[in-house]
Symmetry: C2
Subunit: 462 residues, 2 copies
């Protein structure tokens, strides 16, 4: 198993622009035709028999009238008959490389899971190779289930960058920062310099990838680490991620240590601003919710992981009503155990309803928005992606609705959230590049990646 350094030699620009002769002004590169368009643009309803025109990395036109155009030779035509054309989903919280630990440790008490299984396995088995191949497997899975953008934070993030770059997905990829010895950062004194070097190295590397920092949590990072991480992030106009109030124990710990609840504590350190992405955000009181909303902090709801680890249920419906930007994420595969955002949307909607005892809460449209346009806002890319609009980047998926469990079709949004799964996704386009067509992966070698991760798992499991 050798890391292929040539992956790093790829262009710093959009591969399409480099690899293909530029089309003439009137010729689209790709036309998606015949499907129901669900643009997720504010206020728009589904439109039947739409056509979406893509040139380079952008959507250049959308036609919704019937038309029997002929397209110039070389135009890639994607047939969306009996399908929905929609923005790709955005996984706003993941540790993608953790696919290598999928199913390794389930149904255990939380401390045993973390201290006896996950932390030791990470310490022993995370390295450049395992993170690279684990991330590639996660990218395969995300492409296969209609995810076009992801927010990641983990260790060896340069290998995550290499893998995501190879896959063609759009991503915010962060260096994990923690005040303990960590995989790839054995001396905690080096954690911020490691993070800073990571940002410097990968800023501007690709239109598709934004580097960042990820402070593990208020419990595992010191005042200084938290403050400095935010200062660095602010200076470079990059978002800072953090796990916020995932368990009641960590809230108690912070209160004991600082006399304040976590959100107040972070506020005192100057962390509450629209550059902060707070994942989980479960154990919050009313005042903390107001503080988060007042400071435009971005929230990521992670329902399945929160359920599986019995962490609790976030007050998401209230947050959405307060105007907070809330995205949706899967977390890593050790606590989910898949990256299928269609299933995550379904769970988010249903968990929300039973938690508030109100079947109107977390309706399908709200949840689909969280996974698309709101996810784009979590990434800081709401002007570029998250909806299908002329001028935006072409991050688009086609979902095949011609399947028994998606029939009949009274309301595409309802059916996508409550009935569909990732396996119904047919085609995936990111930045104008086709990553999957008719369920064939075009950028990644499925067999090789699965074999590599199987080999890694034999080491871990032995």
């Amino acid at each position: 198993m050798k890391i292929r350094i040539r992956d790093l030699d790829m262009a710093r620009t959009n591969p399409r622009e480099k690899d293909k002769p530029g089309p003439t002004e009137d010729h689209p590169d790709i036309v998606i035709k015949g499907g129901t368009l669900l643009s997720m643009a504010e206020g728009e309803s589904p439109v039947d028999r739409a056509r979406v025109f893509i040139k380079g990395d952008r959507i250049v036109d959308i036609k919704t009238s019937d038309g029997a155009e002929r397209y110039p030779e070389g135009t890639e035509v994607i047939d969306a008959e009996n399908s929905v054309i929609m923005p790709g989903l955005i996984n706003a919280h993941s540790h993608t490389a953790m696919t290598i630990f999928r199913g390794y440790a389930d149904d255990l008490p939380l401390k045993q899971w973390l201290f006896d299984k996950i932390f030791p396995a990470e310490a022993e088995h995370l390295n450049h190779e395992t993170v690279y191949w684990g991330t590639l497997l996660g990218c395969l899975e995300m492409i296969a289930s209609g995810t076009t953008g992801l927010v990641d934070g983990y260790f060896f993030p340069e290998d995550t960058v290499r893998a995501v770059h190879k896959s063609g997905l759009r991503a915010l990829i962060a260096q994990g920062v923690i005040d303990f010895p960590a995989p790839g950062v054995s001396d905690p004194e080096e954690n911020l310099i490691t993070g800073w070097k990571f940002l410097e190295r990968w800023r501007g590397f690709s239109d598709l990838i934004t580097p960042g920092l990820f402070c593990h949590s208020p419990v595992t990072c010191s005042d200084k680490t938290l403050k400095t991480s935010m200062e660095i992030s602010n200076d470079l106009s990059l978002p800072l991620q953090i796990h916020l109030s995932e368990t009641s124990e960590e809230v108690e710990e912070i209160v004991k240590r600082t006399g304040q609840r976590p959100v107040h504590y972070l506020n005192g350190l100057g962390l509450l601003n629209d550059g902060l992405i707070a994942a989980h955000s479960i154990h919050l009181d009313d005042e903390e919710m107001e503080l988060l909303a007042g400071n435009d902090v971005r929230i990521v709801h992670v329902p399945e992981s929160n359920m599986k680890l019995s962490s609790g249920v976030a007050r998401v419906s209230e947050m959405v009503k307060m105007g907070l930007t809330v995205g949706i994420g899967t977390d890593g595969c050790a606590s989910n155990n898949n990256l299928d955002l269609f299933q995550e949307m379904d769970t988010a909607a249903k968990l929300g309803k039973v938690f508030t005892v109100d079947p109107v809460d977390m309706d399908a449209r709200t949840v689909l928005r969280m996974a698309t346009s709101r996810g784009a806002k979590i990434m800081g890319l709401e002007k570029e992606t998250g909806s299908i609009e002329k001028g935006k980047k072409a991050d688009i998926i086609v979902v095949d609705m011609d399947r028994p469990h998606l029939v009949p079709l009274y309301d595409p949004i309802s059916t996508l959230v409550y009935s569909a799964s990732g396996a119904d996704v047919k085609d995936v386009i990111v930045n104008g590049r086709i990553l999957m067509k008719d369920r064939i992966f075009l950028t990644l070698d499925q067999e090789e990646i699965m074999e590599r991760v199987r080999a890694i798992s034999r080491d871990i499991g032995s």
Copy 2:
């Protein structure tokens, strides 16, 4: 749209036995080979490279040693390389024909959903044809997602019988009984005679189909209806289904009406015995749980519907620990909105953990047992199906694990519950008959069924 009466002319015996020349003693009809066997027999662990031999409707041998046999011409060989061979799943609570209402009414207040949408739509649109085609669509979906047995209760059940018989699935199919005018039973005075006629007509019709009664609920059925339904069911040794304490409102209603909580009330009527199948069973106090356990009542957990309608969370983990037989069901497609038991298992496990705040609760093995061997016990068929054992009926599915989201594979049970979805099922065998091979349906015409239900939905939606 015409009902094809010829469907009723099919043999009353297993079609395999009729259609094919009988094999000689040593020749299996079907061999499944090369996969990991998850027999779900009590105390057994997964076994690699197993071979399962089927003759007629039964499993005649299981070999777990390596062997390069040649099979006689005419033996159907199913390749389970990189796959799991496991018992088919059992959907212990469904109103299958409600596929026609999938996505018709979501995200509404409960009363508006029921009284403004579902009840009127049922009154107007349920008939022999819509139930027949809706059930066929549900059967397609169940086969596609690895369900081999179902427990159904609805109106026009004779059309459900016809459809399920055509599909080849195993089922307990019940006539809905309610003391209000109902689809197909306009005069409530006729409800029990209608039910009795249904039982008389379909008993013994097929090895695969058992008829039954389904009392809608203690709120909507009178004392007399409840008692008589149980007497008829007991006389014929058939189980009786009921919706039990699905909402807190109906519990209050029963308490107001009778001075007793629903389980005590049913106990007084003589309904608590091992012939009662109680679906939902959410709002129960400790004493009611003890009563149910002491009387061997069979419970069906319906997590996704309970979440979507915000009915509440059943105390399933406690029930299992008390020794109650608990199966798992999807409910109808108006409140789920699919029939995928793999996703339902995942939700059951995760909801259980977050509800009890214990990540050890509702572990993957417990949940998989609920959907297989326990489901068989709900159907009253635990000696015949629910596990892969020599002499049992061949109700078997093969799940393709060679997919990105199912790699790596530390523990097949964990991966099946937490990572898989119905779309990963490759082959489905019921009663020794192959219903789906390599995802091709062998008993049902997918295109015709989807077209018919689309036509029905245009009437409903207009």
